[in-house]
């Protein structure tokens, strides 16, 4: 299972460059998730690794092997497609065994492999059915099964769950998480869904506009986003962004804006004092706000609740703060009323500052 390395990967369609030099190192057996909004180049990157798209510049390494000029079949990969890409005229068993049959493996071996994989995915009763006779979730499993049968060193997933309904998606996500514990392979997974990225990944690679914005473990990216895009993309509900000015007050550095003044924790303050500018963007996750009626000056802010979205154990409040909107995640049992102005405490480690021009984290 060789580690995969992308080196200055560029993709151009005519004069338009859609990927601008992607560098990425993936460790052995790592589950890497490429995540980003549509058009960010994540699928193109995956398809270049698969060999389905030509590479305009750069190189893909699998271990010590440069593979950019190899056919897909020589790259030792298996792939699961968004629309499953099953062969409609073959039954489930034939679909799963197609590559093994092309390799002319012994029939007994093929049968055993198909049986084992079908058993693992709960497909045994459907081996004789054609894809058209299966539900979406079952087809999804067949697509996985076909990849598993191949025994390739690297698995590529191109938005494999996005054609399923929400409930099934959650279920399949859990099964995937379970599967990756038992299957020791390199996995590269493309999705636009940050929840899939957070729950499945060893390493998340956030992409935007043909660039890698940041890569790291889910916790790293969630706690220390490198820029405003990553901060806003990961986490649901998304991070709040407020315009603020840095002011010194009695030896402390405060982020002050319309309707709030928050004291920066020492580490952040130390970084912020070195800045040549005073105008910043303040980032606050909805989950880093807490309803504390007597939160002291500089550690909390007053928000006027205008909408409350009840989602079960949690409620999401949409509030007015000066002329901006702020979302807050609270426990549903917290007694609040619409139209009330409430005081919320901010966890000091939940404060993020961004350069308003470059959007880079401070």
């Amino acid at each position: 299972m060789p580690p995969i390395r992308l080196e200055g990967l560029v993709k151009r369609y005519g004069a338009v460059e859609v990927l601008h030099g992607i560098d990425l190192d993936m460790a052995e057996h790592e589950f890497t998730v490429l995540v980003g909004p549509s058009g960010c180049g994540k699928s193109t990157t995956l398809r270049m690794i698969a060999g389905l798209e030509d590479i305009s510049a750069g190189e893909i390494w699998m271990g010590e092997r440069a593979v950019s000029n190899l056919d897909p079949k020589d790259r030792d990969i298996a792939m699961v497609f968004q629309d499953y890409a099953l062969y409609p005229h073959m039954n489930v068993a034939k679909n799963m065994s197609f590559s093994l049959r092309l390799q002319k493996r012994p029939k007994a071996e093929i049968d055993r492999k198909v049986r084992d994989v079908a058993e693992m995915l709960g497909l045994s009763p459907f081996l004789d059915r054609k894809p058209g006779e299966l539900s979406g979730g079952q087809r999804q499993r067949v697509a996985m099964g076909r990849a598993l049968c191949r025994d390739a060193s690297t698995f590529l997933f191109d938005e494999p769950l996005s054609n399923l309904d929400a409930k099934l998606r959650g279920q399949m996500r859990a099964e995937l998480a379970l599967m990756r514990q038992s299957v020791k392979k390199n996995m590269i997974y493309v999705t636009h869904d940050q929840i899939e990225a957070m729950t499945l990944a060893d390493r998340i690679v956030v992409m935007h506009g043909g660039h890698i914005q940041q890569q790291g473990t889910p916790t790293e990216l969630f706690r220390n986003p490198a820029n405003k895009f990553v901060a806003g993309f990961l986490g649901a509900p998304p991070m709040n962004f407020l315009d603020a000015i840095l002011v010194s007050q009695g030896g402390d550095l405060m982020a002050q804006g319309k309707g709030f003044a928050l004291r920066l924790p020492p580490a952040l303050a130390a970084r912020a004092t070195k800045l040549a500018y005073k105008q910043v963007t303040l980032g606050l996750r909805p989950s880093d706000l807490e309803y504390v009626p007597d939160a002291p000056e500089g550690a909390g802010l007053n928000l006027k609740v205008i909408v409350s979205e009840y989602v079960g154990a949690q409620s999401v409040l949409i509030c007015d703060c000066g002329d901006a909107r702020v979302t807050v995640e609270i426990k549903s049992e917290t007694p609040i009323a619409l139209g009330e102005t409430l005081r919320f405490a901010v966890r000091p480690e939940g404060l993020h500052l961004f350069d308003p021009k470059t959007e880079v984290a401070i």
Partner: protein, 303 residues
């Protein structure tokens, strides 16, 4: 009339004019033909003056070696042209299903033969096949090969070549359309699964194109059984009876031999043969629709 029944009748009322035309232009002549096939009928007689002879016309045909010959020629012609056209048309489509510059121009050029009137095709090929100044023999001569007496010695082969030239494009455009509507991702999956170009064609493309190919094949076969103009112009059925396909023999029986009854009986036999093919095609499409319905149903059942 209640509102309910008026609503139910509306579609039939709309279809009525077309049905009337069909009745006059199709069923009347067919009925006339069937009735005529049971009578001894000279073109100088009106049909009421003719004598009823029962199945005598059919019996005579079945015993007539010239009819057998003609029937055989028709079968050989139809099946060979359709097989060759299928192989060529599908291969061309597989070759040209790609993005290269000037492809749309090439495709237009490829389907030109189909747009030319059959009589013109016949004339063009008669010239090309000509023993001494025909293009083909002059080309053979230029590369040092002996001349071939196309229409004299190889008449059936010659008409087959002309028909293949004219109708391969038909199969080509339908196959190309079928190819381009194949699911791209299934082909990509096959590439990743390790299928070579030939294996992709054999295991994925052809099976997925099969429904279109089968209908195309039956359409072409039905058409090939009725071919007339090109052969009439190229060989006139000769030499001897070597290219006298059924349509041509029917025309000759009616006009030269003045046996309208026998010609009608022959037409009926051809009609029945074509009916079998057409029913085969209907059965196939019905089977396909039923299958699609069943699939949709299972899908809805399981959500």
């Amino acid at each position: 009339m209640t509102r309910f029944s008026a609503n139910r009748l509306t579609p039939y009322l709309f279809a009525a004019p077309a049905a009337l035309v069909m009745l006059l232009a199709l069923f009347y002549p067919i009925g006339y033909m069937i009735w005529g096939s049971f009578r001894a009928w000279d073109p100088s007689q009106s049909i009421t003056e003719t004598e009823f002879v029962g199945l005598a016309n059919y019996a005579r045909l079945l015993a007539d070696p010239a009819f057998h010959e003609s029937f055989w020629v028709t079968l050989v012609f139809a099946f060979s042209v359709v097989s060759v056209e299928m192989v060529l048309g599908v291969s061309l489509a597989l070759l040209l299903d790609r993005k290269i510059r000037g492809m749309s121009l090439l495709r237009t050029l490829f389907i030109l033969p189909m747009m030319i009137a059959p009589v013109v095709v016949g004339l063009v090929w008669r010239y090309m096949f000509h023993q001494s100044y025909g293009t083909i023999n002059r080309m053979l001569e230029a590369v040092g090969l002996p001349k071939v007496d196309w229409l004299g010695q190889n008449p059936l082969l010659s008409v087959i070549i002309a028909d293949v030239w004219q109708w391969t494009p038909f199969i080509f455009i339908l196959s190309l359309a079928a190819l381009q509507s194949l699911p791209r991702s299934a082909l990509e999956a096959a590439r990743i699964d390790g299928a070579t170009t030939m294996q992709q064609i054999w295991h994925i493309k052809l099976p997925l194109m099969a429904p279109v190919l089968i209908v195309t094949l039956l359409l072409r076969l039905i058409d090939a059984f009725k071919v007339l103009e090109v052969i009439l112009v190229l060989t006139g059925g000769g030499p001897g009876l070597q290219t006298e396909i059924l349509a041509l023999r029917i025309a000759r029986t009616a006009r030269e031999f003045r046996e309208l009854g026998e010609a009608a009986a022959m037409s009926n036999m051809l009609l029945m043969l074509l009916m079998v093919l057409t029913l085969g095609m209907f059965a196939f499409t019905r089977w396909q629709e039923a299958r699609a319905r069943r699939l949709r149903f299972t899908k809805e059942e399981e959500g």
